[in-house]
Amino acid sequence: MSEANNAHNVSYLEYKGQYKGLLAWIFSTDHKRIGLLYLYTMLFFFSVAAILGLLMKTQLIAPGYTIMGPQTYNSLFTLHGIIMIFVIVVPGLPAVFGNFFLPIMIGAKDVAFPKLNLLSWWFYIIGILIVLTSQFMGDGPPDTGWTFYAPYSFRTPTNVLPAVFGAFVMGFSSILTGINFVVTIHRMRAPGMTWFKMPLFPWTLYGTAWIQILATPVIGITLLLIVAERLMGIGIFDPALGGDPILYQHLFWIYSHPAVYIMILPAMGAISEIIPVFSRKTIFGYKAIVLSTLAIAFVGYFVWGHHMFTSGMSGRALYTFSFLTFLVAIPSAIKVFNWVSTMHKGSLQMQTPFYWAVSFIFVFMIGGLSGLVLGSLATNVHVHDTHFVVAHFHFIVFGGTGYAFMAALHYWFPKMFGRMYDMNWANLGWGIFFIGFNTLYLPMFYLGIMGMPRRYYDYLPDFHGGNIVSSLGAWVMVSGIVIIFANLIRSARHGEKTTEKNPWGGKTLEWQVDTPPTLENFEEIPTIEKGPYEFED
C-alpha cells in the first residue's frame, strides 16, 4: 500500500481500493460509502415517488377525469405508498446517516459486520428492482394500496406478486441493518463511552434496530402468505376458503405500526443532536429522552389495532388498543418538551439545519396531535380512511421523518462531502417548502372531517374547495424541493471545499475527526470522558 493511500490519512472519498469507478462504490464495505449509496438511491426514488404524488394531486384538483383514469390513479398511490414507505422512510435515516455516523459517533472504525452491511444494500436494491418489474409486466401495475389488504390483493388481476415479493426482500435489508447496529452498539463503543455517555442519535438507532429485528419478520411472513395465497390458493386469508381477512390486517399492522416508529425514532435522534448544537447548550433531560425512546420502541409494539377500529374487531380489543395508543403518545410529548426546554436560555444560531429542526417540531406536533384524534375511538370511527388520515401521516411521516432527514442532511453535509452548500439558497428553499407543505396538507384535515374518503380517484363537488387549495400547495412545495435539491446536488460537486472539522461547534465525536473522514475514521480510538453534549457556560 503506497504512502498516499494510507488508510489513516486518506479521505474515504479518495481512497483507492481494489476496484475503480462505480465498482469502488457498489462493492465497498466502508460504512461511509454504503451510507452514501443509500442516500443516492433514496434521493432518486424519492423524486420518482414525489412526482407520482404531484400527479395525484393534479388529478384531484377537480372532480372527474383531469389527467388520468381511475386505474392509473389507483396504481399511482400504490407505487407512491410502497416507495415512500419501504424504500424511503423505513430505511431512511438509519441506512443513510446511521451507516455513516453511527460508527464515528461511538468511536469505532466501522460497523460490526461490514460485509453484511454491503449485502444489506444489495438486498435493498434487488428488492426495489423487483418492485419495479411489477410496473412493466403483463397484467398491469398493482393497485392494492401499500397495505395489500386481503382479499383484494389476491382478487385483483394486477401484478401484486412482484410488489409483495420485492417488499419482502427489502425486509431482509432492514433486518440485517438492525442486527448490525445492535451488535455494533453493544460491542464497539470506544473505551469510556458508557451507555449513558452515548449520543442520542445512536440511542435512537439502537431502539430502532430492535424494532427492525423483532417486527420485520412479521411482515416477511405475512407477505409470503399473500404470495402463497395468490400462487396456491392456500386459503389462510381467503374468506371463500374459511380464512379471516381481519387476521391479515392484524399481521400487517403488527409490523407496520412498529414500522412507523422505525421511521420516527431516528428522526427524533437527529433532532436531538441538532438542537443542543445550535443552542450551544447541553440537551435538557438526556435520560428522559433515552427512556422515552425505549418506551416508544416497546409500547409501540402493542398498539397496532388502532388501524383497525372499524374492521369488525371485538369491542374489547378496540378499547384496549385505543388505551395503549394514548400511552404511546406520552413519550413523544416528553421529547417535545425537552427539545423546547433545551432552547431555553440557549444562544440560538440561526442556520439552515436549525430552521429544519424547529419546523420539524412544529409539523411533528400537528401530525402527532392529529394522531390523538385518530387514537380516540369515537373520532376515529368518523375520520378513519378519510383524508384526515392522509393528512396525519403526511404530516408525521413527511413532516416528521422527512423534515428530520432534511435537517440531518444539512447538518452533516459538510462532514460527508467536505464541501459547503449555499446557505441562502438553502434557507429560501426551506421557506418555500414550508409554506407549500402546510398549504398542501392542512386542507386535507378539513376534507377528512367533512367526510372525503381516501384512495378516491373522484369526489363529490362538495369537496372541491379544499382540494384546489391542497393541489396548489403541492406545486408550491415542489418549487421549494427543487431549489433544495438543486442546491445540495450542485454543492456536493462544486461547492466550496472545506476541511474545517467542526463548522457548527458540535461536541459529539463526528465533529472531532477529519473532514471528510478518513477511511478508518480515527487514527487512534479516543477514550471518552465527558458526556456527548457538554457545552461550557
Binding site: R187, I213, L214, P217, I234, I236, L241
Partner: protein, 198 residues
C-alpha cells in the same frame, strides 16, 4: 484494513438473527392459534390424519442430531477435529433422513388430496382447509430451514477440513449449531401442535 475479530459479537449477531426467525414462525403460530380457536373440531380431525409414528421418528432423530451438533462443538473445543467431523457428518445424514421422511409424508397427503387447492380438500370444509394449509406452510418453511441447515453444514465441514475452522476459531461452527438448534426448537412446537392433538 485491520481485520478485527469478535467472537462474542458474531455470536450475538447470530442470536439476533435467530430472534427474527423465532418471530417469523411465531406469527405462524399466532395464525395457527387463531384458526384453531375458530375450528377446534376440524383441527382435531386434521390431526388424526397425520401420522404420529412418522412424526415421532422425525422428532427423535432431530433431537439426536441436535445433540451431535452440540457434541461436535465440545469436540472442536477440545481440539478433536476427527470426532467433530464425524459428529457433523452424522448430523448431516440425519437432516437428509428427516427430509426423506417428510417427502414420503407429504407424498401421502397429496395422494389423499389434502394439498392446497385439491378438489377433495375443498369439499372438507373450512377448518380442514385451514388445517392443511397451515400444515403445508409451516412444515414447508421448516423443511426449507432444514435445507439451509444442510447447506451450512456442508460449508462448515469443508472449512474444518481446510482447517479454517479450528480449536481457537470455531465461531462458524457454533453459529451453525445455533441455527440447527433453532430448527429443532421450532419442530419441538410443530410436532405436538400438528401431530399430537386429538
Amino acid at each position: 484494513m485491520t481485520v478485527h475479530r469478535d467472537d462474542l459479537g458474531d455470536k450475538m449477531g447470530m442470536w439476533l438473527f435467530i430472534f427474527t426467525e423465532l418471530l417469523l414462525f411465531g406469527m405462524l403460530f399466532v395464525v395457527y392459534a387463531v384458526y384453531r380457536s375458530m375450528h377446534p373440531e376440524a383441527f382435531k380431525l386434521g390431526g388424526d390424519e397425520l401420522d404420529v409414528v412418522m412424526g415421532t421418528i422425525n422428532t427423535i432423530i432431530l433431537l439426536i442430531s441436535s445433540m451431535t451438533v452440540a457434541m461436535s462443538i465440545s469436540a472442536m473445543q477440545k481440539g478433536n477435529k476427527k470426532l467433530a467431523l464425524t459428529l457433523l457428518t452424522i448430523t448431516l445424514i440425519i437432516a437428509v433422513v428427516f427430509l426423506v421422511n417428510k417427502y414420503f409424508e407429504w407424498g401421502a397427503k397429496f395422494e389423499y388430496g389434502f394439498n392446497p387447492g385439491a378438489p377433495e380438500l375443498l369439499e372438507l370444509g373450512h377448518g380442514t382447509i385451514l388445517f392443511f394449509g397451515l400444515y403445508f406452510i409451516m412444515t414447508g418453511i421448516h423443511a426449507l430451514h432444514i435445507l439451509i441447515g444442510i447447506a451450512l453444514f456442508i460449508y462448515v465441514v469443508w472449512q474444518i477440513r481446510k482447517d479454517k475452522i479450528h480449536q481457537t476459531d470455531y465461531v462458524w461452527l457454533e453459529n451453525t449449531g445455533l441455527y440447527w438448534h433453532l430448527v429443532d426448537l421450532i419442530w419441538i412446537f410443530l410436532f405436538p401442535l400438528f401431530y399430537l392433538i386429538h
